[in-house]
Amino acid sequence: MEAWIGAILSGILLGLVYGLAAMGLNLIWGVINVINLSHGAFIALGMFSAYFLFHFAGLNPFIAVALVLIIGLIIGMGAYFVALHRVLDAPELSTLLSTYSLSLIIIGLGTFIFTTNPRAIDIGLGSIGVAGIYIPISKILTGLFSVLFTVILYLFLYKTWTGKAIRAVSMNKSAAEFMGVNSIFILSLSFGIGIALAMIAGCLIAAIFPFTILSGSVYELKSFVICVLGGLGSPLGALIGGLILGLLENVFALKIPVGYIPFIEFMILVIILLVKPTGLITKR
């Protein structure tokens, strides 16, 4: 019984991190209609931001996350004008290639500068134990931060003028422009927020797992499954998709070989695409 409770708790905490990692991809996909193939590279960049802020500025990743958010927003908005703005109205393949190129540049430069040696941030917070189940405190904090950012994103998108403008542009760009919305700014802001979320996820993941510059690709793949599972444009959808994946990886693995899990995850991806391509949450 202890093992099952432990697996469920681990699954929820891991799922929340997966959800946060997918949220950035989800937002960009939903609002700008761009499949961001540089998502994993930005997650890795978030990991390295946390690493350097920890080692050179002594900032704990849970504090550094605020700084990473700002860095991510600036880099993301800059990257929008460099890589996306000119090809946004071109066929979809152009945006795919453009973001893929961005990913290659980041990974290539990252490999050259940081090498692919594994790195880790050891903040030594210890574990909390209840009834024989021990969970690292850093994992609990990561889960809590994921929920916090989901709530913030939700409030931003649904309760602020800028958030409503983002949603308006995602629904009908021309109509939003007629209503006085600066669509170029809104699109770049959306991309910036998406990248910031990816980097925040990287920053938090770095607090619990070791990483290399190539580590982002694992979370990018999972993010695709989560986006399809949860539906596009909804932070809640991403979080629920993440939770399903986290629980699947932890609870199912108690009874079946762990090696089968990726197969099941991608089978779910195919089934959802065939049966309910809009995802489990959105009604669109």
């Binding site: 202890e2 093992a3 099952w4 432990g6 697996a7 681990s10 891991l14 490999t111 090498t115 692919t116 040696n117 594994p118 880790a120 050891d122 030594g124 574990s127 134990g129 021990y134 969970i135 690292p136 797992f209 070791p210 990483f211 290399t212 190539l214 580590s215 694992v218 990886e249 932890n250 693995a253 108690l254 070989p257 762990v258 090696g259 899990i261």
Partner: protein, 419 residues
């Protein structure tokens, strides 16, 4: 006129070939080629192995080089190496380059069984003798290669001692979980350990592998918590092994013995602090393991090379840390090649191979003898030791705890005693 042209042509050919032959005879150094994982996930182990090789090169060159009898002189050793980025694809390109462009006379393998398996194909194809160090897989030696010679104790004998150790310490222990990396080396070790465990009456409750580069072991840890094994054995290489040990500690799993491949044997493993405490590991060599001239004499074997004390002292002085078995393996590879060249008396591959075939000697690293049967070139002389991380004066230190007679300390059991 025509006759004069022919005479001149013959003379030119004669002098040209004489010149080339003279160039060949005037060999001034022995070039040894290899790749190092300066980047990538194998970086920690590979760097240590390279340090050991560098120390051997300095040692041999300080003595004037390797004596080559048919040249009546000592030839200094020169290394040619590249960064393989811990990638199999890079290894093959680079070994071809080492042979064709850099003119390597002999080769030493990269670190890890996977990379060595890739480089062995090239060495065999080009007929170059390659000393395989840092590679324990038996599979490399089942392919009929005739130029590859192994320095490490093979994978089939890697973790079996951990099971003997468990049986001897706690005869009631029955359940074992084997969790290993999806790599040639770890698969070979785990399969051999599974067969051995079942033969010894253990029940293998988990036998599963994880992908290369895995950083989250939670799924496995949950499974371990459910199946409640007495011992966890497995692992793969440094990065994953260290993370696995750390997460076992964080989740406070109540297991009696944790024995992991590679990572705990690397001095850097101590960086995870208390998570390293009481973790055991098989090791090819340990500074506290004593292989001396008197051991050689007792076994009736010739002794070759430096003493363990010399190696530890020089290495520590040069690199500022105590050497692990990867460093010792690197140095030993150089020693074995040196001895084989000296015994062969020339640099010809076929003669060096004969010398390696007939080799049976003792070094600071242990006994060296190669299989001449179906697994040609596999190591049959060398034996493993088992270490455990223990605390001495509140400092983490490696102690040899197995086999009996070679212990520097007693096994602290169970592992969960530290919680």
């Amino acid at each position: 006129m025509k006759r004069g042209f022919i005479v001149w042509s013959v003379l030119c050919c004669f002098f040209l070939s004489f010149g080339f032959a003279k160039g060949a005879f005037a060999k001034s150094k022995i070039i040894i080629g290899f790749t190092v994982s300066q980047t990538g996930k194998l970086n920690a182990e590979s760097k240590e192995q390279f340090n050991g090789m560098e120390l051997w090169k300095d040692y041999v060159n300080k003595h004037g080089g390797i004596y080559v009898k048919n040249l009546h002189k000592r030839l200094p050793v020169e290394f040619r190496y590249y960064d393989d980025e811990s990638s199999k694809d890079r290894v093959q390109q680079l070994y071809v380059r080492l042979i064709n462009q850099d003119g390597a006379d002999f080769l030493i393998s990269p670190y890890s069984s996977g990379l060595t398996a890739s480089s062995a194909i090239i060495a065999e194809q080009y007929g170059k003798v390659m000393l395989a160090t840092g590679a324990a897989s038996d599979g490399i030696f089942s392919k009929g290669y005739t130029h590859i010679f192994q320095i490490y104790t093979p994978a089939s004998r890697y973790l079996t001692g951990a099971l003997d150790l468990l049986k001897a310490r706690d005869p009631k222990a029955k359940k074992v979980a084997i969790i290993f990396e999806q790599s040639n080396f770890a698969k070979a070790v785990a399969s051999a350990a599974k067969n051995y465990a079942e033969k010894k009456g253990f029940k293998v409750v988990i036998f599963e592998s994880y992908g290369k580069g895995t950083t989250d072991f939670t799924s496995f840890l949950n499974k371990i918590a459910e199946k409640k094994p007495d011992a966890i054995i497995g692992g793969g290489h440094f990065a994953d092994g260290e993370t696995f040990a750390k997460q076992i500690f964080e989740q406070r799993l109540k297991v009696k013995l944790v024995s992991l491949l590679v990572a705990p044997a690397v001095p850097k493993f101590a960086e995870i602090g208390n998570a390293a405490l009481y973790v055991t590991a098989p090791s090819q060599w340990e500074p506290r393991a004593k292989f001396t001239k008197s051991t050689a004499k007792r076994l009736g074997l010739p002794w070759f090379g430096v003493s363990a004390n010399w190696f530890i002292k020089k290495y520590s002085k040069l690199y500022g840390e105590t050497p692990g078995y990867h460093a010792a393996g690197g140095f030993a590879a150089g020693l074995v090649l040196q001895k084989a060249i000296e015994d062969a008396g020339c640099l010809k591959s076929s003669k060096v191979i004969r010398a390696l075939e007939n080799m049976d000697l003792m070094t600071f690293y242990g006994r060296i003898k190669f299989d001449k049967g179906d697994y040609y070139g596999r190591q049959v002389g060398h034996e493993m030791v088992y270490l455990q991380w223990q605390k001495k004066d509140s400092k983490l230190e490696k102690e040899v705890i197995w086999p009996r007679g070679a212990e520097s300390a007693k096994l602290i059991y169970p592992y969960y005693k530290k919680f």
